[in-house]
Subunit: 277 residues, 2 copies
């Protein structure tokens, strides 16, 4: 299979660098084709601006989305953007290796998303009319691909537990896992996390290594997070979860299909009229 | 009062630009001192790397946090970083004006946080020993300041409602409002949001303008989000919310003090021994 690793850390000798190297070695050793986008080493341009569109009149008022739509359609995107899109289309799975900084991805990786996720590529895909809001959340250009975050975290695991002071990890990662990865159609595996990353001792590395290898081995077989598909009939015409669903869950978790629920419900049909059951 | 506006949009003639200009005009008209960090216009360096530390040996392995700690302590931070820290210390309130891109802030603003929020300035502040995990979440360098997000959003409000397909807005903003603003001590006001930002018509502007002015007028008087303070006795020694609290809320909302709850509970005392009541 083809695997793209998107890696964002300034120091090759870091834990993140070691995890990236391990992933390359292990996946290649299993016979996969591996490509790496090493954003710091590439000097990736992090800032989305008018320079991303080659045939744009620089005196014109910039709507980034509109300019992105035009440039994606007519092939006038900056070549670094097109190259990353090509890698995503090539990949069967995408692994993101980064440190959690201020409860999100590093700016250089956020800028990769903003620039590579063009209008017509990652959003604005499919029919938008009437009750249909395009192909997103489980459908879209990147359908059929798997994605996994491998995140190093400075803090301790209890601080990220369901009732931990930082917020639950799955809540913190929801904007990325649901909003960035699931949105254009990728299946998202549970994250691989390394806590207290700055304090990892040499003797702890073998257990991290084994745990990471086990997750890499499951890249194409482990069960993805069961996010509800937008067009799976779970949401009403306003894109609000139907009243019959999600009542025993909370917060972001209402967007996960429960065991026993059908993945597909009749589209456009309100199953219960009242908001509360 | 002193108000810092941190503004991140590439196009001055955008809705974001108009909201920023309105805020400057309105707040100055009320007699406040206003300064603006216009990140695109400043050519703000978005990427955190070794270049942020003037006296660092470039051959040395980079730990960004460790280098940040040293450079903040001995005054060898990049001058652009120190200048923004000085603005934050000067301010009584900080307004962030930006478009929501991929369910978070633009990369250029994320990079502002990563670089300006130095070790010793925004984290690693206060005593860390025994049961005390430093001054954070309601305490820290920026205590006494107010913060508010003004966010433009391409999608429609129902998609961001409590059961909307994108996730609830307060869940999506939790990593920023709780993890970035409340963490170093700022009081966080509810966000000002403008939905369907790309479709706003000229005749809709006056109502947006009035609503924004009303929020600006309340910058120092509106009630902030009642996030629980880390050292307010609500969390146990593992920084996990005590079993007696947060049981009628869900997800990120368990970190909000409920009406009637005391803001301060005895620190270090477990009120209930069982996890479930």
């Amino acid at each position: 299979m083809n695997i793209l690793i998107v890696y964002a850390h300034p120091e090759p000798k870091s834990l993140n660098g070691a995890l990236k190297d391990l992933a390359v070695r292990h996946l290649a050793g299993q016979g996969h084709e591996v490509r790496v986008s090493d954003l710091y080493a590439m000097g990736w341009k992090a800032v989305a601006d008018g320079g991303d569109f080659l045939s744009r009149d620089s005196g014109e008022r910039l709507s980034y989305a509109r300019a992105s739509k035009g440039a994606f359609a007519d092939g006038s995107q900056s070549p670094d953007i097109a190259a990353e899109q090509e890698k995503l289309l090539w990949a069967n799975a995408v692994l993101f290796q980064f440190p959690m900084w201020w409860f999100s991805m590093p700016a250089i990786l956020k800028g990769w998303i903003e620039r590579v996720y063009a209008f017509g590529f990652a959003y604005g895909v499919g029919v938008h009319e009437g009750e249909r809001w395009g192909d997103r959340y489980g459908e879209g250009t990147l359908t059929g691909r798997r994605a996994m975050l491998s995140v190093t975290i400075g803090g301790r695991a209890p601080h990220y537990s369901d009732r931990g002071v930082n917020g639950a990890l799955d809540d913190i990662l929801f904007p990325i896992q649901h909003g960035v990865l699931f949105y254009p159609g990728m299946e998202v595996l549970p994250p691989f996390t390394t806590y207290q990353a700055d304090r990892l001792k040499a003797e702890q590395w073998p257990s991290v290594e084994e745990a990471f290898k086990a997750r890499l081995d499951g890249l194409f077989t482990d069960a993805p997070l069961p996010f509800r598909k937008q067009n799976g009939g779970h949401y009403d015409t306003q894109q609000v979860l139907k009243p019959c669903l999600g009542h025993d869950a909370s917060g972001t978790r209402i967007h996960l299909v429960k065991p026993g629920e059908p993945e597909q419900l009749p589209v456009g049909v309100k199953i219960f009229e009242t908001e509360e059951l």
